[in-house]
Amino acid sequence: MAPVATDTLVRTLVERAETVRAAWLEAAAAELHGRTTRGELEREQSDILDALLDGLRAGGTTLSDAAFDQLRGILADVSAARARLGFTPRETAIGVFALKEGLYRLTSDDDVAVDVTPLLRLVDDLGLFTFETYAAAREAIISEQAEQLLELSTPVVKLWEGVVAVPLVGTLDSARTQVVMEKLLNTLVDTGSEHAIIDITGVPAVDTQVAQHLLKTVVAARLMGAECTISGIRPQIAQTIVALGIEFGDIRTRATLADALVDALRANGRTASAGVPA
């Protein structure tokens, strides 16, 4: 493949940088009106242009070349920042595609005789790369938020000295059950508690998978020297569990969270009564 930029092209770009940047800025600012400041755009564009020129001077022809390492880094930073700020993919990529306006300006000047076609193609690649990194950043943000939401929606609380509880609410899928159970075990350790109560009043259905997670948690808690109680098994859930054939064995179950708490406190009574308010 022929080099994208002959020396002439680079020289022209450097000489006419002001013209190119003015048209580029104009086009980008028109699209991003109000979303970002002119100063911000200017700074971004001069970073991109500098890295582009450096890459071209170093003999880079396609965006994946090592010569453009720095340019790709800058583009990735810019699109990740935009993704975080809630820009649309279009608003993110337009800042790069608008560079074409600057290049067109070069060709419309009579005194400049230079073929910018290969550069236009490179700008297309820059734009697509921006799209890609934007999408990846967006995805990362979304899964991060989903995880946070998961954490938030599964509060493990210290009910009393030595007693932690987690009220499970809503549909339990595998990922969520896993998070809850890990969090419960961690809280047991962090608070030095001896009792854990898993309240399933808010759970619409308990299938074999949920049951298995519950059973595993109880076993893990026991290995850590703690006792688990499952509370809030409603009648329809109890009947379903029995029909499915799931056996909770010697796991303690109580009708309500309050019953389970009273129970745990009674068991704690001998050892911890001094620290527990009456």
Binding site: T171, D173, S174, A175, P204, A205, V206, D207, T208, Q209, A211, Q212, P235, Q236, I237, Q239, T240, A243, L244, G245, I246
Partner: protein, 138 residues
């Protein structure tokens, strides 16, 4: 089964954990529309959850078809889970309480049969598995 007129069935893909949740939600909403008792609703939803997960885990993914059915006097919900996976070579064994080829409790299939009023399996090695369940209002 009694001849039943069916309204349009809804088809859902079963390709991920999140799909199992969707199947469960759809079955619950139809079970409420069919005015099943809370116990029957919960049993049907739980059976659907088991079968959808089997479709996903053992069938390598497939499809769930859920519909409201009616025979005039009663309404009900029918759900069909189908995959083109390896099939179940020994159905009697698979329907034994506690038998699992994986790491489950081995209660999903046998337990589901006890949770619903109608239960039928069609499976052939190398061809796939189709499980149909239905529960009617009383």
């Amino acid at each position: 089964m009694t001849a039943a007129t069916s309204e349009t069935a809804e088809r859902l893909p079963v390709r991920a954990d999140s799909d199992v949740v969707k199947v469960r939600q759809l079955v619950r909403s139809l079970a409420q529309q069919a005015r099943l008792s809370l116990v029957d609703q919960t049993k049907l939803v739980t059976a659907a959850s088991e079968l959808a997960r089997n479709t996903l885990v053992y069938g390598g993914g497939g499809e769930a078809e859920v519909e409201l059915v009616s025979d005039g006097a009663r309404t009900g919900v029918r759900a069909v889970f189908s995959d083109e996976g390896p099939g179940i070579p020994d159905l009697d064994l698979a329907l034994t309480d506690g038998w699992t080829s994986g790491s489950g409790l081995g209660l999903g299939l046998s337990g589901s049969r006890r949770l619903v009023q109608h239960f039928a399996i069609d499976t052939a090695p190398g061809v796939g598995t189709r499980v149909e369940i239905a529960t009617w209002s009383r």
